[in-house]
C-alpha cells in the first residue's frame, strides 16, 4: 500500500486514526448498536410484543400517514413554489424564497406554539374554527400541519437551486419548438429537476419521521389518537418501559439508515450529472 506522502510513517498517523475511530465509535457506532441491543434485550418475542401493542401500531401508522401527506404536499407545493420563485415575475417571489428558510431557522417547539397561538381555542382563529366545528390543534390536522411546516423547505429549496443553475433557456427552446406549458414541464423541466425532487423528498421523509418538537406541541400527545412514533417512544421511555421504547426506536433507526443510503445514491447520480454538465461547459 502506498504511504501517505505527508504523514509518512510518523507517530502522528496511528494517533490520528485511533482518535478518529474512537470518537466515531463513542458518538455514532455505540449509540446505534445500543438501540438494537436494548430492543432485543428481552428476546425476539418481547421485541415483537412491544412493537405490536395497539398504541405502538397506532403511533407508527400515524407517523407514516404524516410522512405520506408531507411527501405529497411537498411534491406539489415544493415544485410549484420553486417554479414561482425562479420562473415567474410574480410579485413577492423573493419573499417566498426568504420565508422558505423560516421552518429551518425557527425551533420546532416555537413553530408548534405559533400554530397554537393561531388555531388554538384561545388563538386568533380559535373562535372561528370552533363555530365551524373544525379542530386543528390536538387533532390529526395539527399533526399533519406541524409535519408539513417543518418539511416545507426541503423540496422547494433543492428545486430552486437546480432551476437557477440550469436557467430558462431549455424551457424557452421548448416553447419556440411548439411545446405548450404542460409538455414543457413533463418533457423538459421535470427531467432536469428529477434528482433534486427525489433528494428533497428523501429529506422530507427523514424529517417527517423524526419530528418531535412541533408535533408534540400541536398534537397534544393524545395516546392512541394524535401520538406519533417519536412521541410514543418518549412516553413509554418516561414510563420506564425501556424495551418497548427501544423496540419502537428500531424501525425509526432503520428508516434513518435507509434515508442516508437513498441520499447517497441520489447524491452520486446528481453529482454525475453535474460533472457532465460542467464538462459540457468547457
Amino acid at each position: 500500500m502506498a504511504k501517505h506522502p505527508r504523514t509518512g510513517e510518523g507517530v502522528a498517523r496511528p494517533i490520528i486514526i485511533t482518535v478518529a475511530v474512537g470518537w466515531l465509535a463513542v458518538v455514532l457506532a455505540l449509540p446505534f448498536a445500543s438501540v438494537f441491543i436494548a430492543a432485543f434485550a428481552d428476546g425476539l418475542p418481547a421485541f415483537i410484543a412491544a412493537l405490536t401493542t395497539p398504541d405502538a401500531l397506532h403511533a407508527a401508522s400515524l407517523t407514516l400517514l404524516a410522512m405520506v401527506v408531507a411527501l405529497v404536499f411537498n411534491l406539489v407545493f415544493g415544485i410549484a413554489a420553486a417554479y414561482a420563485v425562479e420562473r415567474t415575475r410574480l410579485p413577492g417571489r423573493r419573499i417566498i424564497a426568504l420565508l422558505l428558510d423560516l421552518p429551518i431557522a425557527v425551533s420546532p417547539v416555537v413553530a408548534g406554539l405559533m400554530f397554537l397561538l393561531l388555531f388554538g381555542r384561545q388563538g386568533w382563529l380559535g373562535p372561528l374554527l370552533e363555530s365551524l366545528n373544525v379542530r386543528i390543534v390536538f387533532a390529526l390536522p395539527g399533526v399533519l400541519l406541524a409535519t408539513i411546516f417543518v418539511t416545507l423547505p426541503f423540496v422547494a429549496k433543492e428545486v430552486i437551486g437546480v432551476l437557477r443553475e440550469t436557467g430558462p433557456a431549455e424551457e424557452e427552446a421548448a416553447a419556440t419548438l411548439g411545446a405548450n406549458r404542460v409538455q414543457t414541464f413533463f418533457h423538459v423541466v421535470l427531467p432536469n429537476i428529477r434528482w433534486a425532487v427525489f433528494y428533497g423528498l428523501v429529506l422530507t421523509a427523514a424529517r417527517a419521521l423524526g419530528e418531535f418538537g412541533a408535533v408534540s406541541v400541536l398534537s397534544g400527545n393524545l395516546i392512541g389518537s394524535t401520538q406519533t412514533l417519536p412521541l410514543y417512544i418518549e412516553q413509554v421511555y418516561s414510563n420506564y418501559q425501556t424495551t418497548a421504547a427501544f423496540a419502537a426506536a428500531v424501525p425509526l433507526t432503520l428508516l434513518a439508515v435507509a434515508t442516508i443510503a437513498a441520499h447517497k445514491v441520489l447524491a452520486w447520480f446528481s453529482s454525475r450529472e453535474r460533472a457532465r454538465a460542467i464538462l459540457e461547459e468547457n
Binding site: A169, E172, A174, T176, L177, G178, A179, N180, A277
Partner: protein, 363 residues
C-alpha cells in the same frame, strides 16, 4: 403546419418598438423591415438591444410600444409557439437528457406528428447537417460545432418561416467559427428561409449577411449592405464600430478638411459639416487607406514617427505616433512595405487616399 419547403418566404416589419427593463431602456423606437428570404445581421456592442429585438421578434420578450408584424400579420400578443419561428440560442439550449435524434424531432413530437414522418425528417436533417452516426449521442458527448448544428437542425425541423439566431457562433473557437459561418451562408442560400442573427462580431456580420443592422444604445444607427455600412458609414459610431479606424482632428476649409499638412477631400459628411459651419472636423481614415511616404514632397502629409512594425500576415501593420501624440495604425501591402524599408523611430509622412469626415462639435 406541413408547409411545403418551396413556400414563399416571410418578411418581418417592426415599427416604433420600445422596451424598458426597470430603468434601463433596451430599445428606443426601433423601425426595421426584414425582407422575405433575406439574411440579416443585428450588429452592436453588448447592451445595444440587439438580443432584446431578436427575442421580441420571437415572442420570448414583450415590447412596451410599437408593432411587430410577421408575414403581414400583427404578431404582438401572439404566442411564441404560433409565430412560425425557429430559434437558435446562444449556448444552444439543447435538451441535455435527450439524444441528438430526440432533440431534432422534438418539435414534431410536440405536434403529434406520425412516428414515420418524424423518423424521416430526423434522418433527412441528420444528413443535411452532417450529423450521421451521432443520432444516439447526448449533447454532452458532442463537440461545440456539432452541438451548434444540432441546435440549427432542431430549429429547422418544423420548417419555420423565420429563423432567428442569437450569437450563433459566439461559443465556438475561431477556426470552427469561420467554417460554420460560411456554411450558414450556403445553407441559407439553399433553403431560403428568412433569417435574422445577432452578433457583436463585425467581421461575422459583414461576411455572412445580405444586410447589416448596426445598433447602439437601443437604437438602430444604420441599415445597409455590408458595402454600404463599411464603405459609407452613417455616423461616427458605425465608422468606429466596423473595423479599425484612425481619427485626425482638423479644420474645415472650402469643402476640404485640413489636418496638419494633409488636405482631405470633402468626402462623406464634410459637405454637411461645412454647411453647418462647423469650423472643426474629425477625419476618419481606415488603416489600409493611408500611405506612408519618406519625403514631404509637395508639402501634403502629416509628419509621424514609426513606433512599431508587425510584418506578419497578409498586410504589414505599422504603428506611428503623430506630433500631438496620437497613435495611428497603417496597413501597407507587402510590396509597398518592401519599397519603403521602414525602421523604428524613422520620421515619415502620412497621406490619406480617402477619408470620411464628420463635424466635430466637441471643441
Amino acid at each position: 403546419m406541413n408547409a411545403p419547403a418551396t413556400h414563399a418566404p416571410t418578411g418581418i416589419e417592426i415599427a416604433g418598438v420600445s422596451r424598458t427593463f426597470g430603468g434601463f431602456q433596451a430599445l428606443r423606437d426601433v423601425d426595421l423591415e426584414v425582407r422575405p428570404g433575406e439574411l440579416i445581421a443585428l450588429l452592436g456592442p453588448s447592451g445595444s438591444g440587439k438580443t432584446t429585438l431578436l427575442r421580441i421578434i420571437a415572442g420570448l420578450e414583450t415590447h412596451d410600444t410599437g408593432s411587430v408584424r410577421i408575414a403581414e400579420r400583427e404578431a404582438t400578443g401572439v404566442d411564441v409557439r404560433s409565430r412560425g419561428i425557429g430559434f437558435v440560442f446562444q449556448h444552444y439550449a439543447l435538451f441535455k437528457h435527450m439524444t441528438v435524434a430526440a432533440n431534432i424531432g422534438f418539435s414534431l413530437r410536440m405536434r403529434n406528428a406520425p412516428k414515420a414522418q418524424i423518423a424521416e425528417k430526423v434522418a433527412e436533417l441528420l444528413a443535411l447537417f452532417r450529423l450521421d452516426g451521432l443520432a444516439a449521442r447526448y449533447p454532452d458527448e458532442l463537440s461545440g460545432g456539432q452541438r451548434q448544428r444540432v441546435a440549427l437542425a432542431r430549429a429547422l425541423a418544423s420548417e419555420p418561416e423565420i429563423l432567428l439566431l442569437d450569437e450563433p457562433f459566439g461559443a465556438l473557437d475561431a477556426r470552427v467559427r469561420q467554417e460554420l459561418r460560411r456554411w450558414l451562408r450556403r445553407l441559407h442560400d439553399d433553403i431560403g428561409v428568412t433569417t435574422v442573427f445577432v452578433t457583436h462580431d463585425q467581421e461575422e456580420a459583414l461576411e455572412v449577411a445580405d444586410r447589416v443592422v448596426v445598433m447602439n444604445a437601443g437604437r438602430i444607427e444604420q441599415i445597409g449592405t455590408p458595402e454600404e455600412v463599411f464603405g459609407n458609414p452613417a455616423n461616427e459610431f458605425v465608422m468606429t464600430f466596423l473595423g479599425n479606424v484612425n481619427v485626425f482632428h482638423g479644420r474645415v476649409e472650402e469643402g476640404c478638411v485640413r489636418v496638419g499638412g494633409l488636405l482631405v477631400d470633402a468626402a462623406g459628411g464634410a459637405g454637411e459639416a461645412s454647411n453647418r459651419a462647423a469650423s472643426s472636423a474629425k477625419a476618419y481614415v481606415r488603416p489600409h487607406e493611408i500611405d506612408i511616404v519618406t519625403e514631404a514632397g509637395d508639402g501634403h502629409g502629416v509628419p509621424a514617427t514609426v513606433t512599431f512594425v508587425n510584418p506578419v500576415g497578409a498586410s504589414v501593420k505599422v504603428e506611428l505616433a503623430t506630433s500631438d501624440g496620437s497613435s495611428i495604425l497603417v496597413e501597407l501591402t507587402r510590396e509597398r512595405y518592401g519599397e519603403l524599408n521602414l525602421e523604428r523611430n524613422q520620421r515619415v509622412y502620412l497621406r490619406a487616399r480617402s477619408a470620411t469626415v464628420f463635424p466635430d462639435y466637441s471643441i
